[in-house]
């Protein structure tokens, strides 16, 4: 571990029981740390049919077609890692052995003692994916990664690092899912993303869990001058509890950050999903767009924009629909400015679907259920507008499969 003095370890030990700021407290000890060994797969196509369909539903293409690299973590074991283009795809532990300089990025964006989940992940010396786009390299196709929960009652601990060097461009698609039959488990994931000057990272994460899964991702993104970070998050399937508050720190002048979120809270689920952008350099811009639906679960949409430098411009928009009695929507948009020369706005709305819109579509001959389905799809679609076309198709497909109108 890159902790010569052992001081990080000490901090993590002390934070082992530290509750997170938000979300239901999960007793991590009640889960078994997921196995670190699993048979490697030469190709994702060698996996069983069952697994392959799980991957496909999470935006991961088993043939690797249309992707510039692939990575699969099953439980805590690296099963597959490959690349086709000039982009580095390794496991984080491998990368740490290979690159001495990586210690300057490892646990530098996310503190190990933030809460019990980061502490556990640190103390497990977690593995995950390491992706690096070399300076000036514009990767044509996305790198796909998949984090699978493969064992019952397992606690998966993941540590990912993505580095986009100067003037490079990279797209990453991550599918997170539970293998069929794994009803109860825990996913803890640290992600530290670094975007250098004029670099661009588009990160799309599709969560595809199961009814009793707990999920606690911890993500921080650091963006340099003229750099851009675009985050798309999609969670349409049932899950027990998700709490996350990914943060982008726009530290370079003229940098840009955007978070798009599309989520459905099914009955019994609590989704506490936030997006935070700290704009600490002049002329930085940010946009947060969230669209959530509840069919009986609790959907909390947090958003926070912090403007700390002149010329900052940012907008936050969260809209929530309640489709069924018993569903709860809680929108918490926050704006903070520490200098006068900023332009920051927000817009939030929660409520039911507009009856006049439903009836308008019904007047064209569609049943109420069909009309609601069309409106809800449109509502969610807005949340992922502007995302790359190939991904949009996959997400559209996921939305239509999600059986939203019936809940």
């Amino acid at each position: 571990m890159q902790d010569p003095s052992g001081s990080l370890r000490k901090r993590a030990e002390e934070a082992r029981r530290k509750r997170a700021a938000y979300g239901e407290d999960i007793e991590v000890e009640k889960f078994d740390i997921a196995p670190r060994e699993a048979p490697a797969a030469e190709s994702l196509e060698d996996l069983g049919e069952d697994l392959k369909s799980t991957l496909l539903n999470s935006g991961v293409v088993p043939t690797g077609e249309g992707r510039s690299g692939s990575f699969l973590l099953m439980d805590n074991a690296v099963v597959h890692s490959s690349r086709k283009e000039d982009v580095e795809v390794l496991s984080t532990q491998q990368a740490l052995r290979k690159h001495d300089w990586l210690k300057d990025y490892y646990w530098k964006a996310v503190p190990p003692d933030a809460d019990k989940y980061t502490a556990t992940t640190f103390l497990e010396n977690a593995d995950g994916y390491f992706i690096r786009a070399p300076a000036g390299k514009r990767t044509r196709l996305p790198v796909q990664t998949c984090l699978l929960l493969g064992s019952r009652n397992a606690a998966q601990t993941v540590h990912n690092i993505v580095i986009v060097e100067e003037d490079a461009e990279l797209e990453v698609v991550t599918g997170c899912a539970a293998k069929s039959g794994v009803e109860k488990a825990l996913h803890l994931g640290i992600s530290e993303f670094y975007i250098k000057d004029r670099g661009k990272l588009t990160f799309t994460m599709i969560h595809n869990w199961a009814e009793q899964i707990g999920v606690r991702p911890r993500t921080t993104v650091i963006v340099g001058s003229g750099g851009a970070y675009i985050n798309n998050y999609v969670c349409l399937k049932p899950v027990r509890t998700i709490q996350m508050y990914p943060t982008a720190r726009l530290e370079g002048r003229d940098s840009f950050g955007r978070f798009n979120t599309v989520a459905i809270a099914h009955p019994g689920a609590e989704l506490d999903i936030g997006s935070r952008v700290i704009l600490s350099a002049p002329q930085a811009r940010a946009e947060i767009v969230s669209r959530s639906i509840t069919t009986g679960g609790k959907a909390i949409a947090r958003g926070r924009l912090v403007g700390e430098a002149p010329g900052v411009k940012a907008h936050l928009e969260c809209k929530g629909l309640i489709l069924k009695e018993g569903g709860i929507q809680l929108a918490i948009p926050e704006l903070e400015a520490t200098v006068p020369d900023v332009e920051m706005t927000h817009e939030a709305a929660v409520g039911k679907i507009a009856k006049d819109q439903v009836e308008y579509i019904m007047a064209r001959g569609l049943s109420e259920e069909e009309a609601v389905g069309i409106i809800v799809r449109g509502f969610l679609d807005v949340g992922i507008r502007g995302i790359p076309d190939n991904l949009k198709k996959e997400i559209d497909k996921a939305i239509s499969v999600a059986e939203i109108s019936r809940g």
């Binding site: 064209r364 001959g365 569609l366 069309i374």
Partner: protein
């Protein structure tokens, strides 16, 4: 085709229609005149079945069936279609997709859009940022996919520029006398329509056999469309309240 019998309607507790009696014959077109706020749109919305419009008394009979309590989509399925004066915005819903589902998958939106010059709007969200005239054309496009038997057209020509009026008028004419017959009817039967108009311009494109005048939530007068229009032009709506030739059904 359509009979409105003694219809009284409330919206939000306020009576907007009172004892309305009128009819549209199969294969014929009726027009509806009346001052602003008199209840014309309310009547069309009530016939279509929008739930804000509560029928307190009377009934609506369509092709022999009492549809007063049917939900909107059941009325649409039976062959009623509406061009709304102020349709809602459907954020995130592409016009093309709505046209496709309105045509139950059996239409090609691009082909239908051509005569209305709506092709470049197919990829846009329904009604979002559409101009007044564009809304009319978008509504007509949806109706052409839907292909109803009874057209309820709420001011199809208002807000349409002089050039587009040809297109809109032509489209309405095509819809009404087009070749596709109504479900369960002989193809020669043609379609029926109830059209709200202030200017009567639409009469240059479609032949109407009867006109009604709505005043204060009730039908105050009926007669020949062109004659009534002249009457209204000459004397304004004051006259029609005490219309002498009022004839019901």
């Amino acid at each position: 085709m359509l009979e409105i019998e003694n219809l009284t309607v409330e919206i939000g507790g306020k009576t907007v229609l009172r004892n309305v009696n009128m009819s549209v014959l199969a294969g014929f077109t009726s027009v509806l005149f009346g001052p602003n706020g008199s209840g014309k749109s309310s009547l069309l919305m009530t016939i279509m079945g929008f739930s804000d419009y509560r029928v307190k008394e009377g009934r609506i009979v369509f092709m022999g069936e009492d549809i007063t309590d049917l939900p909107v989509h059941e009325r649409a399925k039976r062959g009623i279609g509406i061009l709304m004066q102020r349709p809602p915005n459907l954020v995130g819903v592409k016009l093309e997709d709505l046209v496709r589902v309105a045509g139950r998958g059996g239409v090609t939106p691009g082909d239908l859009a051509k005569p209305l010059q709506m092709n470049e709007f197919l990829g846009r969200d329904v009604n979002v940022g559409f101009s007044g005239g564009e809304i009319k054309r978008s509504e007509l496009l949806q109706l052409s996919a839907q292909n109803p038997c009874l057209y309820l057209l709420d001011e199809p020509e208002s807000g349409v520029d002089l050039e587009s009026i040809e297109r809109v008028g032509g489209a309405v004419k095509d819809l009404l006398v087009g070749r596709i017959g109504c479900a369960g009817k002989k193809s020669m039967d043609g379609k029926s329509a109830l059209i709200i108009t202030h200017t009567g311009q639409i009469l240059d494109y479609v032949e109407a056999d009867r006109a009604y005048v709505m005043c204060n939530g009730t039908i105050s007068c009926s007669g020949n469309p062109r004659e009534l229009l002249q009457e209204i032009r000459r004397k304004g709506y004051e006259e029609c309240v005490k219309c002498k030739i009022l004839q019901v059904a």
